[in-house]
């Protein structure tokens, strides 16, 4: 989000510097499961997701984009009802989602569980290789002439008459305007400006297996959203779904919790029986920031002149490249093409 905002601001004629605590893409955008699915986006965010999705699609091979199509599955009546209700609304919001019969699903993807009760399909769904996000964004910033300072942990922000003095390590930077787009680390940054953002953090778990025989082509989701699963072209399965680990951004990387990992793997095992025989190589966690109403913080940082914030975008990996430039438009004094989400409402 920070990088795409920087790119738009630079296009608009501003001199921009991106200050990054670790390296580009080290946070949520680099450690998520790479799912680019319209079926798991919130209804009101669908216009943003469609634009973001297009950005990833056009990035193509450089970030390992694959348009695989994706199924969302329901295995009992309660889930079927939820699926129908949710996907109908998402379709109305513009996502090209269709309902398919269990027989159609199993014919096209024989590796899926034969206990499907209802299913939806979106041909636009796919995934990217999130480990390549940082390298890709770094290249874009470099090509645009935007300075990127990595391994620069911001410890002080002083407000001055005409802007900010930002201290990271031994370096100090002066700027007229400031955008905080640090994901789960946004609240600690805002506190340097004495602004208490009500940001909370989820610790999502992702698991990768060793490569197995390629059985599955489309992405797989669950009506509840508690499973995302894909088999990459090398045969390894990536399993996610927002099961919670533990940890806090201030204390370092989060930790996987065996009890939630177990349920995540059971759901994967149930939906795709072929996963039973592959070995799990690694489970990890990534932080996802949110505010209690689960809508983005995208706009003016309340109470600080010329400061802005962009965080807590649910589905931010897909939506980031759409909403980043929109916030940059606001900073440039332009009218954003889609409405933003005023952070003041959350205070």
């Amino acid at each position: 989000m920070g990088a795409t905002a920087a790119l738009r601001a630079s296009e608009g004629g501003m001199r921009v510097v991106v200050i990054e605590r670790d390296v580009a893409g080290a946070g949520a955008s680099g450690v998520n499961a790479g799912t680019l699915s319209l079926q798991i986006k919130r209804v009101k965010l669908m216009p943003y997701a469609l634009i973001g999705h297009e950005w990833w699609r056009s990035a193509g091979d450089a970030i390992g984009f694959k348009r695989t199509g994706g199924y969302t599955l329901a295995f009992n009546a309660r889930e079927a009802e939820m699926l129908h209700d949710r996907m109908t609304q998402k379709r109305a919001a513009g996502a090209p989602i269709e309902f398919v019969t269990p027989r159609q699903v199993v014919t096209r993807e024989p590796a899926l569980c034969d206990r499907i009760v209802a299913a939806s399909y979106c041909a636009e769904d796919g995934h990217a290789d999130s480990t390549r996000t940082g390298t890709y964004l770094r290249g874009l910033l470099r090509d645009a002439g935007v300075e990127l300072r990595e391994h620069a942990n911001v410890t002080h922000i002083d407000t001055r008459e005409a802007g900010f003095r930002i201290t990271a390590g031994s370096e100090t930077t002066s700027s007229k305007r400031l955008l905080l787009a640090a994901g789960a680390w946004t609240a600690p940054l805002a506190s340097l400006l004495d602004v208490a953002l009500p940001i909370r953090v989820r610790t999502n778990t992702v698991t990768v297996t060793e490569p197995g025989p390629v059985h599955l082509h489309a992405g797989v989701g669950h009506a509840t959203g508690l499973l995302t699963l894909k088999q990459k072209s090398n045969g390894s399965y990536l399993i996610g779904g927002g099961w919670q680990g533990t940890g806090s951004p201030e204390a370092g990387r989060g930790r996987v919790v065996a009890d939630t990992l177990l349920q995540n793997l059971r759901l994967a095992r149930f939906a795709v029986p072929a996963t039973a025989n592959v070995r799990v190589l690694r489970s990890w966690t990534g932080y996802e920031a949110y505010v209690p109403d689960y809508w983005p913080l995208a706009g003016v940082l309340p109470g600080v002149r010329d400061a802005y914030v962009l965080a807590c975008v649910r589905g931010g990996y897909t939506i980031g490249p759409c909403i980043g430039p929109l916030v940059a438009d606001l900073i440039l004094g332009r009218e954003p093409a889609l409405p933003l989400f005023d952070p003041a409402r959350a205070m």
Partner: protein, 444 residues
């Protein structure tokens, strides 16, 4: 099941800790992946004996103590909470779970690899792998073997091959002869004599010993292999190559203990105090995991750790420290200069699991990656089945060389479960779909 103490590893440190804990009246659990206790140093062959009286004594004393011993159990996760530790393993009967108030990690060491052209070929293996074949299965790595690398294992493996009736076509020691002149070796005249007898056996068998040399490349040649050393091709059917030992820190990393880098102790190791305590409450480490000090020092560390867990008097640590001298010196002989990393060609594979050549790793470093976690995130290096055990050290060293940073700056990769690859079904076990807990879905 809740134990006072769990011990990971039934090698010299773990077994001694278990016996001591038993004498002190603690209920303890020992978990080890192997079929027999003894660790790598006293690895047994069927019928279970290492042919080494120390190993047989270790197994007898472990079997005779009150500890509950779970062999053939693969630990895949450890969690810590206010009540202590929760251990999750997969055994012959499936999932096994236990709790313990304290934990002694006695996970030992792992081999250090240095990538070279062809190191991923079948027939090329580590010195430790060759030791497993020889000790546990009485198998030879090949009929005509090149034994290469650095450190004492080089001579142990070459001797083992000769002893088993194989031929060592060349012993390629990266070190000059002078690297072996260390006063601390005199601290164990018995082991020094054993080393000299190995060397004499190599001489009798007229094994060519090439010093200050490394294997530059291995390639397939007919039915066998060809190893290139200083421009000379050596025909063989197996190459065993390793560069000393590193502490096996995956469990202590996972638990978030503080680690320190010291090349003399094998690199990254978990930090312990004089009572073998880590800086995570209830966590202790004994043996090579706390720095490579060898098999003689390990039992002392294990006993001290067990006494510390029980709150018993530790007594003198002189014996432990004295016994460490030889092991530390031996591992020092396996330390080779940066040239082994600098000379890796751009197209040589560094991460075997993800098939990443040096050029890809280097591009990531040139692009701004300065820590091992940065490179891992950018390239997937170390994310395959080996979990970084084969490539992390060489890649971290490359980063340090290229960025002129220290290994401490480059850091260690974040510890993550599972500690070893585990079949998804073994973790998932039997379950009823309708009984799976489903947290409330995300808002629409």
């Amino acid at each position: 099941m809740t134990f006072d103490l769990a011990i990971l590893g039934a090698g010299p440190a773990g077994a001694a800790a278990a016996v001591e804990a038993s004498l002190l009246g603690m209920r303890s659990l020992v978990i080890d992946e192997q079929v027999a206790a003894g660790g790598q140093v006293y690895r047994a062959s069927p019928p279970i004996s290492s042919g080494d009286p120390d190993g047989d004594r270790l197994r007898a004393s472990l079997a005779g103590c009150s500890a509950s011993v779970r062999l053939v159990h693969r630990l895949w996760n450890v969690e810590r909470d206010d009540d202590g530790f929760r251990l999750l393993a997969i055994g012959p009967e499936g999932a096994f779970e236990a709790r313990a108030r304290s934990l002694i990690v006695a996970a030992g060491a792992q081999e250090r690899f240095v990538p070279f052209r062809g190191w991923e070929l079948p027939g090329v293996m580590g010195l430790a792998s060759a030791t497993i074949l020889i000790k546990a299965q009485r198998l030879l790595p090949g009929r005509n073997v090149v034994v290469a690398g650095a450190g004492p294992l080089l001579y142990a493996v070459a001797h083992g091959i000769l002893d088993g009736g194989g031929r060592v076509v060349a012993l390629v020691d990266a070190q000059p002869r002078s690297a072996w002149w260390m006063p601390d070796l005199l601290s164990r005249p018995d082991l020094l004599v054993r080393g000299m007898s190995w060397l004499a056996a190599l001489r009798r068998a007229k094994v060519p010993i090439l010093r200050a040399s490394v294997v530059d490349a291995v390639a397939r040649e007919g039915d066998g292999l060809s190893a290139t050393v200083q421009g000379r091709a050596i025909a063989c059917d197996a190459v065993c190559c390793g560069f000393g030992l590193m502490p096996a820190t995956d469990v202590t990393r996972l638990l978030g203990a503080t680690h320190s880098f010291d090349a003399a102790l094998g690199g990254w190791h978990v930090v312990v105090d004089d009572q073998q305590r880590c800086d995570v409450p209830g966590l202790y480490a004994a043996g090579d995991v706390a720095g490579i000090r060898g098999a003689a020092s390990a039992p002392h560390q294990g006993r001290i750790a067990a006494r510390a867990v029980a709150g018993a008097a530790i007594g003198s640590t002189r014996e432990r420290d004295g016994a460490s001298r030889f092991g530390v010196a031996m591992n020092r002989a396996a330390q080779v200069g940066d040239y082994v990393i600098s000379s890796i060609a751009p197209d040589v594979t560094m991460c075997v699991c993800e098939r990443l050549p040096r050029s890809v790793i280097e591009a990531a470093i040139d692009d701004g990656c300065v820590t091992i976690n940065d490179v891992k995130g950018a390239t997937r290096c170390g994310m395959g089945p080996c979990g970084g055990r084969m490539c992390e050290d060489a890649v971290a060293r490359l980063i340090a060389i290229k960025t002129s940073c220290t290994r401490r700056d480059v850091g260690m990769a974040t510890g993550r479960p599972p500690l070893r690859p585990v079949a998804l079904d073994a973790i998932a076990g039997d379950f009823d779909y309708e009984a799976l807990p489903m947290p409330a879905p995300a808002p629409l």
